[in-house]
């Protein structure tokens, strides 16, 4: 019963958030300069006739009062109708279906690699001496701070231009995935390690860890059985945020490595003033965020039932 109530609260909350996001997008896209009818009739600088522009306006309902447009927009959303892309003239849902898998794939792999690296680094940091700790700390801060576009360019220069080990642009092979995934994963790994190390240090220095050591357990066992759990919690709580940051990072990474995906679609849709595409992608990103947040909350409850109650 408790689970059902929790689920009900989540779904209700999600719907409210989605409605707010949809409304914000509806207002937002109308504030950016550029005539939507022009975007439909060949993009900026088009020489579409007044007649053609009028046709486009009525076909896309742009000639209706703004309030009617808003309710029409909501009514369509409820039926999962995201409309037709201005520039591609295909349904938005169909285009998103094409570009979504590569982006989700990229983000999930980056997330996995980032966690793996973060755990590894946290483990190393625990065993390191003072100097090693300092060095590790510096590396993490730098990794967490570098922007994706810079990191991507450096990785290409290093591993593609100079060493020739990996392809510079995505080509559908596994090797082509390495650099994009690393570009997304390294900053996140740095960030996660920072979070983990603090709580790991606290956990490993705490009474129960000392007690466990006194019972004769090895450092590694204590780390695995007690430290890791404490260390992972704050990082896990931020995984929802991390995943959405990966989606936004995908905009940059997909452009640098010429990968197809949601991020690249978003960029070109914004530049082309393709309002249905922008709306669809933004709403979808909000949905992903909500789902991932709910999932991480559920996992947190599993790891730390006491914490979830408070």
């Amino acid at each position: 019963m408790k689970l059902l109530a929790w689920l009900g609260r989540k779904v209700g909350g999600a719907l409210v958030v989605l409605w707010l996001v949809a409304t914000a997008i509806f207002i937002g896209v109308r504030l950016i300069p550029g005539d939507p009818a022009e975007a439909i009739m060949g993009g900026p600088g088009s020489q579409a006739s007044a007649e053609a522009l009028a046709n486009a306006r009525s076909e896309y309902g742009l000639d209706l009062p703004i309030v009617s447009q808003y309710f029409l927009f909501l009514a369509k959303l409820i039926r999962l109708d995201f409309g037709t892309s201005y520039s591609f003239k295909d349904p938005v849902l169909q285009i998103m279906g094409e570009v979504l898998p590569p982006t989700i794939n990229l983000a999930l792999m980056a997330l996995a690699v980032a966690w793996l690296l973060a755990l590894l680094l946290a483990l190393l940091a625990m065993r390191a001496n003072k100097f090693g700790q300092l060095l590790g700390n510096a590396v993490e801060i730098v990794a967490a701070a570098v922007p994706h576009f810079w990191l991507g360019a450096v990785l290409i220069m290093l591993f593609s231009s100079m060493l020739g080990w990996l392809p510079a642009v995505a080509n559908g092979t596994a090797a082509g995935l390495v650099l994009p995934v690393l570009t997304l994963a390294l900053p996140l790994a740095g960030f996660l390690t920072q979070l983990m190390r603090d709580s790991l240090n606290t956990a490993m220095g705490s009474q129960f860890a000392l007690a466990a050591r006194a019972r004769g357990e090895s450092r590694l066992t204590v780390f695995r059985r007690h430290g890791l759990r404490h260390a992972a919690l704050p990082a896990l709580g931020l995984t929802g945020w991390a995943f959405s940051s990966l989606l936004s990072g995908a905009v940059v990474v997909e452009a640098i490595f010429a990968r197809p995906g949601l991020g690249r679609s978003l960029l070109s849709a914004v530049l082309a003033r393709d309002i249905p595409m922008v709306t669809g992608i933004a709403l979808f990103s909000a949905l992903v965020y909500i789902v991932v947040m709910a999932l991480t909350e559920a996992i947190e409850r599993l790891i730390d039932p006491a914490g979830a109650e408070s």
Binding site: P44, G45, S46, Q47, I156, N171, L271
Partner: protein, 552 residues
């Protein structure tokens, strides 16, 4: 105009490649790596092309009509006319053409024996269907639409001949019909809905569209029934050497270049100037194919203060040193222009004297124009208003080197007392700023074949905005004498008179200090050393890969 080096070599050296290549090679120059000189053409292999332009939303260049569309469509669509190496217009899909003495009837006969990719035969019906497609508002053509604006109606005389009735004489019509934006596609294909035709237009070119994986690649394959319209084609095999072309979109310049260096791609466009200058040292080939039409230039908005005063416009020309900026930022890959027209336009005139750097002269002119005071920051002031120039820059059309050049100008114009306010904008916002007249300076490239581009850019009619707010006459030149010259130049059927009229028209614009020419519209391609036979281009300088082959 630069000589086509490859064309010259073909005539003097071993005739490994057909004459046809030389005939329509346009005005490009290449520096092939030494190895390719003796290479024997071999058939086979797929060339990977990487474009830095945004992926078109439609492969049919009738729809919209921009350069990225022309680049890819040049492989699968052909035009009625094209340009020879001297820049002269010659028939291509057309066999012959003539015009009535009053200039109002243009008769065009297409070649017999040519088939579109969908199996439809090329007939006069195709001329009619294509021009009507361009004129249909639902097509949303902007470039091609303007090009065929004077065609009133089309009569089919026989299977191969069509008669175009014009609303006014138009000696630029053949030039207009040489551009990829008016290329001829299958009338059957045009009957499909727009999305279907956009995905795979059926042309007559040496390659055809096999598939288009959005955001990944347009896959082109050899058209096995290709018939080259060149009358004297000597090629043993009339089809392309390449099995196909994988047309990719790699927006990042650094990634594109890295992919070329590592051999992942064979040809790239939009290379950065520094990589062009070191191409030969890195064993890469370089094709320099300046676009026709207007040169890249700054236009001075003469419709409002401060540039409504010709003295202020002249002062601006003398206040900045453009040449050293171009040399350093473009690594000597772009040549300074003093012409309104591209260097590939035979009728362009240059006037270097108007654009000397002379701060003393600039200061005198501004003093004379009443901009005598200076404010605390050193900018000139008149009637309490600062001498400010709004300069919206499209990050889409101005490469980083050009943006840096503008920043140098900004610094150079300050001592004279100009405040240049550069605003970097995306394309939609940039068009928006122009439509609202929120500019004093602007750089707006314009590609078109032939000097009639001058009418689009400088006739007073072009100050009247289209429904979208777009107008082409950014300098806001309104001069009845100039208008007359531009109209007459388009209507005469005498070549010498045409050249003379265009010369006078250009002189008026240059004398009025409306425009500061910078350089040709840059159009460079880098290719790896296993690519041979580069150099053939369309009338708008987009490369054609019909004669290109790869080392095996």
């Amino acid at each position: 105009m630069r000589r086509n080096q490859r064309a010259t070599r073909l005539f003097t050296g071993a005739l490994a490649l057909p004459l046809a290549a030389a005939l329509i090679a346009g005005c490009s120059s290449t520096n092939d790596p030494a190895a390719s000189k003796d290479a024997e053409p071999v058939a086979g292999g797929t060339l990977v092309y990487a474009s830095g332009d945004a992926e078109p939303s439609c492969l049919d260049p009738h729809v919209g009509g921009n350069y990225p569309q022309a680049l890819v469509a040049s492989q699968f669509m052909e035009s009625l006319f094209t340009k020879d190496a001297e820049g002269k217009i010659i028939p291509w899909l057309a066999e012959k053409t003539e015009v009535s003495t009053d200039g109002l009837t243009r008769t065009i006969t297409v070649r017999d024996g040519i088939t579109f990719h969908d199996g439809t035969k090329l007939t006069s019906e195709a001329i009619k269907a294509n021009i009507e497609h361009l004129q249909n508002p639902n097509t949303a053509s902007s470039t091609g639409y303007l090009a065929v604006g004077k065609v009133d109606r089309i009569k089919l005389v026989d299977e191969l001949t069509a008669e175009l009735k014009l609303s006014a004489p138009d000696n630029a019509l053949l030039e207009s019909l040489s551009m990829p934006w008016t290329a001829i596609q299958s009338p059957q294909g045009l009957k499909r809905d727009q999305a279907a035709n956009c995905a795979a237009p059926a042309g007559t070119g040496p390659f055809k569209v096999e598939s288009w994986d959005r955001q990944q690649a347009v896959n082109l394959v050899r058209y096995e029934d290709y018939v080259s319209p060149a009358a004297d084609a000597e090629r043993a095999s009339a089809t392309s050497y390449l099995d196909g072309i994988t047309w990719r979109f790699i927006p990042e310049a650094a990634s594109r270049y890295a992919a070329l260096q590592s051999g992942e791609v064979d040809v790239i466009d939009n290379p950065q100037p520094d990589t062009i200058s070191t191409a030969a040292d890195n064993g890469l080939g370089h094709l320099d194919a300046p676009r026709p039409g207007a040169s890249n230039r700054l236009e001075l908005n003469s419709s409002k203060a401060p540039f409504d005063d010709v003295r202020v416009r002249e002062a601006f020309m003398h206040s900045v040193d453009v040449n050293s900026g171009i040399n350093s930022l473009y690594f000597n890959t772009a040549k300074r222009s003093y012409s309104l027209l591209s260097s590939v336009e035979p009728l362009g005139i240059s006037d270097e004297s108007k654009f000397t750097t002379d701060a003393t002269k600039a200061n005198e002119l501004l003093d004379a124009a009443g901009w005598t005071q200076r404010d605390s920051e050193g900018y000139r002031v008149k009637d309490g208003k600062r001498l400010t120039l709004k300069f919206p820059v499209s990050t889409n059309q101005s490469v980083p080197a050009e943006q840096s050049l503008f920043e140098q100008m900004q610094a150079a114009a300050k001592p004279v007392g100009f405040e240049i306010k550069i605003e970097l904008l995306d394309l939609s916002s940039w068009y928006g700023a122009l439509a609202k007249h929120e500019y004093d300076l602007v750089s707006a490239p314009y590609t078109k074949v032939g000097p009639s581009v001058l009418r689009i850019l400088f006739h007073s009619d072009s100050t009247v905005p289209a429904p979208s707010g777009y107008f082409a006459n950014n300098a806001q030149v309104k001069d009845p004498k100039l208008d007359r010259l531009l109209v007459d130049a388009e209507q005469t059927n005498d070549e010498t008179e045409r050249a003379e009229l265009y010369k006078q028209a250009q002189q008026i614009v240059l004398d009025g200090y409306y425009v500061m020419p910078l350089y040709d519209q840059q159009n460079h391609f880098l290719y790896s050393k296993n690519v041979h036979g580069m150099g053939q281009t369309t009338a708008v300088s987009s490369p054609i890969y019909y004669n290109v082959f790869l080392d095996k």
